[in-house]
Every structure is written in structure tokens, then in C-alpha cells.
Symmetry: C3
Subunit: 178 residues, 3 copies
Amino acid sequence: MLRGRCCTWTVVRTQENGKRQGRAAGQRRAPAARARHRTPPPPTPFGAYVEAVQTGNLLFLSGMLPAIGHEPKFVGRLGKELDANAGREAVRIAALNVLSAARHKLRSLDNVTRVVRLCVYLATEGDFFDQPRVADAASELFRDVFGEDKTSVRMVLGVASLPLGMPAAVEVILEVEA
Amino acid sequence: MLRGRCCTWTVVRTQENGKRQGRAAGQRRAPAARARHRTPPPPTPFGAYVEAVQTGNLLFLSGMLPAIGHEPKFVGRLGKELDANAGREAVRIAALNVLSAARHKLRSLDNVTRVVRLCVYLATEGDFFDQPRVADAASELFRDVFGEDKTSVRMVLGVASLPLGMPAAVEVILEVEA
Amino acid sequence: MLRGRCCTWTVVRTQENGKRQGRAAGQRRAPAARARHRTPPPPTPFGAYVEAVQTGNLLFLSGMLPAIGHEPKFVGRLGKELDANAGREAVRIAALNVLSAARHKLRSLDNVTRVVRLCVYLATEGDFFDQPRVADAASELFRDVFGEDKTSVRMVLGVASLPLGMPAAVEVILEVEA
């Protein structure tokens, strides 16, 4: 459960020997094998929408921005004011907001059975073509958190602009236990 | 049912005392509490696609443009030829086309149990960052029509261009009775 | 099954008399009525994601690019380095990658019961507004392959940039037999 403005939660990363732990389908992740990520408080909408809607086994999440509260952590475009490394960090913050919103809705990320679709939007200008490496910041976070067997499909695109001038947005569909 | 080129349909907005009417889940909206919106005739495709596909309980709709028939009602980009208020009106027309297409497919919008996902695409140029307020024109219309308990997740982005130079497109996924 | 780098597969197009063949729902397409398309080998990811995820009856596919292997077949923007005809060919290659990935996942495209959603992303610059005709290259291919009764909804948009500078991406959701 989220308490206060910032909190931690635990995820599988590796066993002590550095290898990923094999698990049968549906088996819970062993607490001993969890690493700790720090997530922001659950995001709140910038307009007349909600952060998560479940329909059947699918949980749709709003596009998340690299903001804490409504304060942008990055402003600018990749290929102009910002480089790929800043883009990766912006994508990572947006992806942490995805996790925070999902956990807030589901109570526990253990109820996620698959990351179905990940879409990464990057505000770019001119000849910035390193989108896949920047988008990997989200894919790698989700792989660490959910495990490689839950990896999603992906779309990544360069857009003209995003709300408040932020450089990235991350939008996800999850499959969850009914 | 749609008859002729333009027609009206009724939606809940408020009770006579100005408050939203509480309803149990699944309860029909009271006719007495309905306001009237005017919707365009059901849109027709600009290419080799259809306007609506239902799979299970989900109704996917094509991206709708601010056009009546195939005639654009707005041309230009936000931040260049058009301002945010024009953008809001363009988004509203596109969202009315969403409603018209959904009603044409479902016979009645009473069969909509949830607005799942709303994506608003805005053609922008330069430093236009007021996307949330413009996108709210769609969110607010759907809230008026379907009620606050059916509010969707949302993605809003600035794009480089849209068909025929129009400034906005609205794409929606609805949850419907099976 | 796909064998080697390039292979063919068969689709219904027309009967000998030039008319589409009527089929009852669920009926297999007659081999005699099939035309042959040449598809690339199944695409491999450009990052930490997978090409296809099935959840329930829906098959989500990653955004596909006009590349064979990881080699771009087109680089540039519509309205600047490339014209609409090049865009159409790029969209067609990306759409063939969609088919290749779907067949690789499903074993046979006969398991597709509907093309639900098609999204065509085109990298554009300036006043390029011929998106519908370019996107039709994907819609027409899918109509040829799956038949007109399986036609999808569609979104088409001009974006600022796509991975490696390619001019188009095609993203699809299919409905499949459970």
C-alpha cells in the first residue's frame, strides 16, 4: 500500500547467484529475490479523465508523463534541448508513474499477469532517430519488475509535442487477474 | 435512430435542481433529466476501413476528424494557424462524430457501459503545450453524455500532421453490453 | 511455416470469374482461390520487447517498420525526402511484417477472425496531407489477405520521427480464435 508521498515496493530482479529465478506459470515471486524500486505517489489527472480503467482482464492506463505530482521533471525535445540520456531518465520516471497508478488501482502488482502493450511517445525535433534505446528505459524497468516472460509488444514514435512541453509519455495496457 | 442528415439525441446532464442524478449501476437514465446535443450524421471512411468494430465487449472506433461528411470544419495547426479555442471546437466536432458512429453501430448509446480509452491527437507547431485543456473538450462531452462514472483513461499528444490538414482527431474504445 | 529468409503464403483474392467468393462464417478459404504474396521473414525486435502478445481473443502486435531484418528499406519523411508513392511502398512492407509476425505467432493466418484496429504512423514534414491514400496501402493489403468482411477501424497520423529515420510504422490488433 502507498503511504505518504513516496514509498518503495519490491520486485524480483535476480537470485543471489545473479541468475534469474525460474518460476512455474502463476507461481508467486519469492520475496527473498526482490529488489527495491522507489516509486512516486500515484499520479493524478491533468484533465477530465481517470488514470486507470479495467474492462474484463485488461487494465488500460492513461498516458503517463515524467512529472511528480503535476510538476514536470523534464521539459524540452530530444534532438534539441535534451539528449538521449535525459530522454531515458524521463521515460523511466513516466514508467514509474505507470507502475504507481497500476498498483494504486490493483492494490498489488502481483495481480498483473502480462504487460500487453507499451507505447512510448517522445517529443523529438529534427533528425533524432535513437527512439528504441530511449524507449528501452521503460521496457527494461517493466522486465525487471514483472519478469521477462511478461514482456509486452511495443510502439515507439517521435511526436511534435506533449503536455506542458514534456519530452516523453508512456502508455500501457496490462492483463490482470479477473 | 438517425434520420436525415442531422439529428438530435438526448443525454443526461442534470436534474432540475442542477445536481447530477444518482443512479444504481445498470439503471437507465431518466428521460426527464436529459439534455439535447446535436450530432452530425454518422461519419463515413476516408479510405479502406470501417468506422467501428466490436470484439467481445469492446467497441473500437476509427480516429474521427473535425469534418462533417468529408468536409473539414477546421484546417491548420495549433500554435500556428489556430489557437486553443479553435482546437477545442475541432475536438468537440470530432468527438460528436465518435458519438454518431457509436450510436449508428450500437443503435443506442445506452448500450455503452464504459468509455475505456480516449486518445486525442492535435496537430501542433512549435511551443504549443496547452494540450490538456484542448483535449478536455472531448472528455467533458463524454462526461456529459455518459456520466462521470464512465470516464475513460486518456492520452493526448501533439502530432506533425493529420489527414487533409485538420488540427485534431479523436479515437475511442468503448465497453459495451455483449 | 516460414522456411529460410523469404517465403510465400497464400490468400484468397478472387475466383476465376473475378468475383469475391462467398463463404459461410468460419469456412476455410478455398486453396484454388488463393493469390500469392511474398512476405519477409518474421521481424525481430529493435529493443526489449516482443513482436506479439495474445490476451484472450486479441492479438496485439508491435509497431512494424519498413525494414527487412533490421535494415531499413526506406529512410526519410513524406513531404520532404519521400513522396506519397514511396510512402505507400513503405507502408506495404511494414504491413507485410505485420502479417509475417502474426503468422509466426499463430502458425496460420486462418486463425484470424477479424482485423480489429490498424494504426498507420507516417513521418511527415510540412504540408503533407495525403495520409489516407498512403495508409490505404496497408488497408488494401489486409483486405486482400483477410477479406472485406474482416476490415478494421483505422487511425492514421503524421508523426515527427520514427526509429532509425524510417517514414512509416504499422500497428495492428487482431481478433483470433481462442
